[in-house]
């Protein structure tokens, strides 16, 4: 079964143009990604849902090609929809009834028989830690429970690709983290994930690759590591004796110094070895440190920096 393109890329888009109501919403989208989890990030109205609609064949592009799991869209969109589960932001828990009814219905919608759907509905709800609440009417569900139920609906037919459109929207921080961890478990279990979100921390938490979309234009598509280097961090030391000579000693020892004054020095640490070296040199030179802090560059910082750079 062909699931990826020539370079291991399972998501390939080439020159995609799409209009909505006469307005150009996607303009020349080009990307090829292979990460287990791909984040589609952008502000509200950037074109994320439109891009997902085009990927699923619900929206038709004027120009360009899309290939997902090696399937050309929209020609083989039906096959893709069989092999993927979609948690759509716009869709509610449908058609009502209890949680298990809704998940069972989703199973039947994906082509499973009634009994098999019911069996798998319980399995999916078990996997998402939904207990006795599954028998309660979905109308009374909290936002977190509703999102879990929607996730179970997208999972019930055991898809190899999960397309999640704003899964954490409306959740409180603990609920958000809980749901993200559930999705992470699904990713670690071997499923490919396409996560559309406007919350950068969600993408950072889950994704290997990132698509950044701004006003219908892809401004970045590639590994998250190209934006955020998780293997290093910027450290800031404050105290006395942090002079130019101290900085030169650090540089000579192989530590990258970013800038320094008499009282303050900023350097890059690639782990405990660099930190141990820093402490040794500080001790040898008699530097007195009052504070040593770590300035972590988050994905959000990197994306904001990039957006600002793009806008001049």
């Amino acid at each position: 079964m062909l699931t990826t393109g020539n370079n291991g890329d399972w998501l390939e888009i080439d020159g995609l143009h799409l209009q909505r109501g006469g307005r150009s919403v996607l303009q020349g989208v080009d990307l090829a990604l292979s990460g287990q989890a791909v984040g589609l990030v952008g502000v509200n109205g950037a074109g994320k849902s439109t891009l997902i609609g085009a990927m699923l064949g619900v929206l038709r592009a004027e120009q360009g090609t899309i290939s997902i799991l090696g399937l050309d869209i929209p020609i083989r969109a039906r096959e893709l929809r069989t092999r993927s589960g979609v948690m759509a932001e716009q869709a509610g828990v449908y058609p009502g009834g209890s949680g298990v009814d809704a998940v069972c219905f989703a199973g039947e919608m994906s082509g499973l028989g009634r009994r098999e759907s019911l069996r798998r509905a319980h399995q999916a709800l078990d996997a998402l830690d939904v207990g006795e609440e599954r028998y309660r009417p979905t109308k009374g569900y909290s936002t977190g429970m509703r999102q879990r139920c929607k996730l179970a609906m997208s999972l019930v037919h055991d898809p190899e690709l999960l397309i999640l459109d704003e899964p954490t929207v409306g959740l409180d921080p603990p609920g958000r983290l809980q749901l993200l961890n559930l999705i992470k478990d699904l990713r670690d279990g071997g499923r490919r994930i396409l996560l559309s979100t406007h919350i950068m921390q969600d993408a950072e938490h889950l994704c290997d690759d990132l698509i950044l979309i701004e006003a219908g234009v892809i401004t970045f598509a590639g590994p998250v590591s190209r934006l955020v280097d998780r293997s290093s961090s910027r450290l800031i030391a404050e105290g006395s004796g942090l002079d130019a000579e101290f900085a030169a000693t650090l540089t000579a020892a192989g530590i990258q110094v970013l800038n320094h004054t008499e009282q303050r020095i900023e350097f890059i640490s690639h782990g405990n070895d660099d930190l141990a070296l820093f402490w040794r040199i500080a001790g040898e030179r008699g530097a007195e440190l009052r504070r040593l802090g770590c300035d972590v560059v988050t994905l959000e910082d990197a994306v904001v920096d990039m957006m600002e750079a793009d806008h001049g």
């Binding site: 109501g21 997902i52 609609g53 619900v58 929206l59 929809r81 716009q90 869709a91 058609p95």
Partner: protein, 243 residues
């Protein structure tokens, strides 16, 4: 194929009870039945009134209920986003459009048949032409739902347009005493239910005798053409409201 039809049908039936059109149809049919029951029990309706009610149900009820119910084929699913589920499933848009249109037609046929049976029982009406009336209800239901469904597929103000088409074109043309009446589905509904009634005009024109077979074929043709066009339009449409 059967699996696709089952999925499309399930997604159609699931929100049926909550659809506005279903509620309105149920209320109107219930009012009609209440009128018949009250008339029967109190005796304020003369025996001929029951005949008129039965005739009106076929000749006017079917098109008017079709105007209401045809909204449920596709428009209602787009408005309330319930169509998103079958669209995200392994079903083609053509299957969705055809299945939902025909299911709506059958729904109208079943509910109208039940109402007609109640009227006939309560009014103690003759059952001699019931098979013909049943054929009129069947062909009329699917043809009108398909026809008005097509209007819903091309225009968002389909309710008003459908009513205008029925009252300003279909009804008057269907009662003309010359061949042009063949263009109106209402004429064929009259032929099928054996209730032909033409307006009197001072000009005499040659007109061929109506045929049950011909009228049934016209209604089938209307159903096929309208359903095909609806499916074609739906397949090519960018469903922006759903994304």
């Amino acid at each position: 194929m059967m699996r696709s039809i089952r999925i499309a049908l399930l997604s159609y039936l699931a929100p049926l009870a909550s659809a506005r059109a279903t509620r309105m149809t149920c209320v109107l049919m219930a009012l009609l039945l209440m009128l018949v029951v009250t008339g029967r029990l109190t005796g304020f309706l003369p025996p001929t009134a029951f005949i008129n009610i039965a005739d009106s149900l076929i000749l006017y009820g079917i098109p008017l209920f079709a105007v209401l119910l045809s909204e449920m084929s596709l428009r209602d699913g787009i408005t309330h986003r319930t169509l998103l589920y079958p669209l995200l499933g392994p079903v083609s848009r053509t299957t969705i459009a055809v299945t939902r249109t025909l299911a709506t037609g059958l729904l109208l046929f079943v509910s109208a048949t039940l109402t007609l049976i109640c009227v006939k029982v309560l009014g103690e009406l003759s059952w001699s032409i019931f098979p013909q009336e049943l054929a009129a209800l069947f062909f009329g239901s699917i043809a009108y739902v398909a026809f008005f469904g097509l209007i819903h597929a091309v225009n968002s103000k389909a309710l008003i347009i459908s009513l205008c088409v029925f009252t300003l074109f279909d009804l008057p043309v269907g009662r003309l005493p010359f061949t042009m009446r063949n263009l109106a589905p209402s004429f064929h509904l009259r032929v099928l239910s054996d209730k032909i009634d033409s307006i009197s005009i001072p000009v005499m024109m040659d007109v061929s005798d109506p045929s049950l077979f011909f009228s049934a074929m016209v209604m089938v043709l209307v159903t096929i053409v309208a359903t095909t066009l609806t499916a074609l339009l739906f397949s090519r449409r960018n469903l922006v409201n759903l994304c």
